[in-house]
Every structure is written in structure tokens, then in C-alpha cells.
Symmetry: C2
Subunit: 204 residues, 2 copies
Amino acid sequence: MKASQIPGVTEHLSEEEARAMDVLVPIRTFAKGTVLLEAGAVATASYYAISGCVRLYYMVDGDERTTAFYIEGQSIASMNSFVNQVPANHYLSCVEESTLAIWSYTSEKELFRRFPRLESFCRVSLENDFGQHQDLLASFITKTPEERYAELIATRPELLQRVPQYLLASYLGVKPESLSRIRKRMVRKRGVLGTDIGAIKPRR
Amino acid sequence: MKASQIPGVTEHLSEEEARAMDVLVPIRTFAKGTVLLEAGAVATASYYAISGCVRLYYMVDGDERTTAFYIEGQSIASMNSFVNQVPANHYLSCVEESTLAIWSYTSEKELFRRFPRLESFCRVSLENDFGQHQDLLASFITKTPEERYAELIATRPELLQRVPQYLLASYLGVKPESLSRIRKRMVRKRGVLGTDIGAIKPRR
């Protein structure tokens, strides 16, 4: 696949824009476990996930704390580091083999200069991502780990199938043992929770 | 003041853009305590703070949980609600009398249509705000209330002077009594913490 052929993008591009995108926005497949960005390094690129799953996490006293899982159709940006070209305070790594469109700092500058319409397209997408990020913060602040787990089941059931339990625990801010207890409590409380939770086998 | 005269904005505008800004982006002063947005309502506007202080908070089981204080020079956006015109999940209210530029949903559409350059300006500003928001989430996730208080002293000392203690406590996610204990512990540990903390008198 080329960048200009990404669903949701392709229909908005002129021929000239499509050609520039294909040259300036390469697509690469990264093996599971690949670290795309390390804390302390400068983010030279943002990404758009075509397939796979990328995780954003912080190291806190030797423990990983995950704040996001990005899957196909989502943008992945270490915004402060990327925009201001300063060291990042977090890590990005591939939970699965991931095919990503690579939106580099220098390509962005060139694309926006040559095609102002692309900048408008990105502004809209950025606003939506920002809105989701505000909701993410709200979820961390206002909900218990159990409530956040129930939210995941309701809104992103595919994640529960794809992400190992110990990483889900790191996202909920609990130890893996606690996540097992939460799961058992929820099954007891609600009976069978539907195929999503019923089908999960711990993958660790 | 008119919208076109806002420092950091004015030097980028043509005469025509400035005239349109002044018509489409009114500036209003809101009394302390004014609620700009209620959970359940749709955000019809974003704001840019010229002076004053606005707080974003969630209601959790009858308790307020504050996630942000915006002061002069900062943008205030309930992004998901504003962009998608859906009900907000949080409140915005004025901690102080606040003078705000009002960026309405309909004005944004018109300004961007007529002046694409303004959209580029907003995209850059949006990226910076997004970066700060990612760092805010990181701070909530990775730091203890005591560490976050120390961070406030280091990075936003003016807030400690302006915001009542019980609201600071709601931002740190602790009861006001706990904030008093944190303050005492920090003073004991470090001796005098400098003028910022030394000068604070609880305002509640």
C-alpha cells in the first residue's frame, strides 16, 4: 500500500498531492516488539497505523505505565517531542507486527508548504485526536480500574483479544493479579459478559 | 481589547484578517464563578484567555475533580464537544474574573473558509496544546500528588498564588486536609521552599 491509498485519505487527494504523499510519507512494517521511540530521544516522526498495534508507555520506578494502545486507523504522535523537537518522556513500541505510514518532521513541513489543503485535513484530524485524548484523561481521572475495564469491553472489545493481559493491567494501572481478580468479580457480578471477555485467554 | 490585538496574534494578521477577527471573535469579561460550560451541554465555543483563570473539572460521585487551570495566554477547548457538537462530559468555570476571546463553532468555520492562513496558525497552536495535554496526562499517571505539587511550584508558581487551596487539592486528587499535610511535609523536608510556597495563605 502507498500513503495515497489509505482509506479515508485517498478520496481527498488530487493527483499531484497523491504523488507527493507517496514520496514523502513512506509505509513500513515493523516487527512485534520494535521500539519506535525511547524516552530521552527526539521524535522525528509521527505515525498512522494501517495495521497492527502500538503502545505508548512511561517508565515509573521501573514499572511500565501504559496510557494508550493505537490500532489501525489511528494516529500516533509524541506531540511535544515531535513539534518542538525536544526529548520525549515516553516510549512507543509495537505490541503486534505493525504497518505504519511514517509522517516525518521534515516531510510535514514540505507537504504543508506545497499543499495547504493537506494542512486543513490534518487540523481536523488533530482536533478529533485531541478530543479523544481529553476523554482519555477524563477516564483515567474519574474512573476506577474496574470501570475502565468495563469501558474497554464496551468500546474497544477488539483490544481485549489482541493485547496481552499484563499490558492491559499496565493500562488500567493495576498489577496483573489484580486484573485477574477484577475479571473474576465482573464475571460473578454479571454472569457471562458476552463473547469478548469469555473468549479471552491470558496470553502472558 | 479586540481579538486582532491579542499579543502573539496581532503581528500575524493582514488588515482584512484583523477586521474579520474583530467581528467574528468577540471578547467578553466573565465574573468569577461563571460557569462557561456544563456537563451534558454542547460546547458552542472555545476560548482564549486574555486574563483571569478558568478551571476544567469533572463531577465524580458528587466530588469535583479538576484536570486543568487555564490562565492568560492559554486556549480552553472542550474539543470533542466543540468539534463534534456533542454533549460535554465536564464543566468549565471561572476561578477569577476572566476576559476571554470567544471562538464560536460557526465563526471558526467562516474564518477558516475565508482565511486559510488562520487555519495554519491554529493548527500549530493546536499541536502545542495537544503536546501539553499529553504531558498533563503523563503527570497524572506517573506522579504522586506530592510530586505533582512540587511540579506546580517549579513550573506554575503563579497558580499557587491565585487558586484557592481546595481547588488545588481537587487538581492534585487529594482532600484539602491531605494537601495541608503535603505542604507541611515539604516545608519540613526542604526547609523554606522559597517565596512561592512561603507566601501562600490558604484562601478557602
